[in-house]
Amino acid sequence: MKYVLIRLLRSVLTLVIVVTVVFLLMRMMPIEGYFGASFDKLDEAQKTAKLENLGLLDPWYIQLKNFYNDLIKGDFGESITYRPKVAITKILGEKLITSLRFGMASLGISLVVGLSLGVLMARYKGKFWDKLGTCYVVGANAVPVVIYYLLIQVFFTQIFNLPLLYDKTDPKSWILPVFCLSLVNIAYYAMWIRRYMVDELNKDYVRLARAKGLKNKEIMIRHVMRNAFVPMAQYLPASILYTVSGSIYVESLFSIPGTGGLLVTAIQRQDNTLVQALVLLYSSIGIIGLMLGDILMATFDPRIKLGNEGGSR
């Protein structure tokens, strides 16, 4: 318990440093971003007035302090340029949920399909299914995914007569985005479960299990699969949480109003509060996810006791 507390404290410290570093990085950007298209039309005085108005002429530490002050009150502040004067929580709220829905749908499919594929590949290692699966994994990992997305958008809309863009009212418009999102995730889960299972299969206890008369199938189900899932479990919570961050490619290609492109836009428009809020969100997700993962793994694996792993991250 003490270990969890210390770990939590360190995580908060890491978060503060991360947010501060990103804040400082943002301050290094040229000021054009604050004005967008109107940059060339305004004179110096107007620009200064606008910057002052936005609170951007305060020294950086004051800005940072304001940000943290509000944060402690649970207030993420207001957007500066993206949707001026609109509360960040309001901007994020709907988008997060949209991304989460797509993410969870794809994660569910990916886990089921990916894990089955990986188990199949490990079971028939070196045989046809394994080779086919490996081709898929290599293709999905090596080639920039956007190429697949574009091809899917070009051809699948025609072949299967599916809508090109996302439409809230049309459930069919979910199919292609979820398919795209799952494409890479399936490969990811298949690859890792296969790798872990092959590792397990080479272990001595499998030899003993075989020697005591278990069938290969029983060894797979009773011993190998369970043991191979444990290392996967470590990354599961983070994967679930990360679904809220959306996918830039998929959301922009299918014009889904999610969080995917928000970070890029926020940086381009130099919406400091929004960027900070997003970075804070994503970093906390990473940290919390890893912690949950460790706890999950400790419940599966009796050898791991939280507290004596000695900072082996």
Partner: protein, 323 residues
């Protein structure tokens, strides 16, 4: 004990002269052993057994060679020049592939064939540069991180912070602060890429660091630098080669991504990312899809080749596979 019985009497009629002592030659006893093992020969042997990887290696070697010599071949067009139709004096816009323009032209009349090879050159250069930088920085930091205990806590903290900043943020902010150019993109990718390499190297080093032979080396007073380079690094060859080989497809992917969000190289520099972007703009017109397909095909060939070669080589360099 006088009546020794031959259980198997197949050998009754043997020349009695054979029952004499043979000359004993100790080296003959050694000869029969099977210790003609060589790490690199076995690595090459195992690699060569994978026909797919060998084929891809040949293929990628040809592609790389071709991108290097292509501009000097006769009859090649410039990747950036806009070509006009001498009859109408209009630009050759979106011309389908033909004898003149092998891969057709783009929307402003540039030769796609030349642009693709120029773009491949650019992207490969970025990839190789990032890969090399990652290797040098990643190995150096990883080795220090893993080997020098005093530095462990500090570097771990730096790693935790840096790793928690989303890669996108770093990439975008850095390309924003510095003006878009090839060096900028390389720099931005290097700033995020070395982390993984460093962590891999560190983890491996921690595993091998306390093995007995290293302990022995330390006891004998071998300097740290020598232990790292002579005892540890050879173990890392397979991992390092893998990371470097994977850095190239990753860098190409990142370049495509940055171009996609409009923060890549300036549009007047042909790169695979820019070409994909140009192709994307026209992809809904079936007659113009060649502008997407050609660069997409080249990207696929290059990235898959490096990915497969890297993986197969890493497997081959793993002594456990040298059976």
């Amino acid at each position: 004990m006088t009546s020794k019985k031959i259980i198997n009497n197949m050998a009754d009629n043997i020349d009695p002269s054979l029952f004499e002592f043979a000359d004993y030659d100790q080296s003959k006893g050694e000869l029969t052993g099977y210790s003609n093992y060589s790490f690199w020969r076995s690595t090459v042997q195992v690699f060569m057994k994978n026909k797919v990887a060998v084929a891809l290696l040949v293929l990628i070697a040809c592609v790389v060679l071709f991108t290097l010599v292509q501009p000097y071949l006769p009859g090649q067009k410039s990747p950036t020049q806009i070509y006009n139709n001498p009859e109408t004096n209009l630009q050759f816009r979106n011309v389908q592939p033909n004898n003149e323009f092998w891969f057709g032209t783009n929307s402003i009349g540039q030769d796609l064939w030349a642009r693709i090879w120029s773009g491949t050159r650019t992207s490969l250069f970025i990839g190789v540069a990032v890969g090399l930088f990652e290797a040098v920085v990643g190995i150096t930091i990883g080795a220090l991180w893993g080997y020098v205990r005093k530095l462990d806590a500090i570097i771990t903290e730096i790693y935790n912070v840096w790793d928690n900043i989303p890669t996108t943020v770093v990439l975008i902010i850095l390309t924003y602060i510095m003006k878009p150019s090839i060096p900028t993109i390389i720099f931005a990718m290097c700033m995020t890429g070395w982390l993984q390499m460093a962590r891999f190297v560190r983890n491996l080093i921690i595993i091998i660091r306390d093995r007995e032979y290293n302990l022995a080396s330390r006891c004998l007073g071998t300097p740290t630098s020598r232990i790292i380079t002579k005892n540890l690094l050879p173990y890392l060859v397979s991992v390092i080669m893998l990371r470097m080989a994977l850095a190239i497809p990753a860098a190409i992917g990142n370049e495509v991504f940055l171009s996609y969000i409009g923060m890549g190289l300036p549009v007047d520099i042909p790169s695979l990312g820019n070409l994909i972007n140009e192709g994307r703009a026209l992809m809904m017109d079936p007659s113009q899809r060649y502008q997407l397909f050609f660069p997409a095909a080249v990207i696929s060939v290059v990235t898959i080749s490096f990915y497969v070669i890297g993986n197969v080589f890493a497997d081959s360099a793993d002594p456990r596979n040298h059976v």
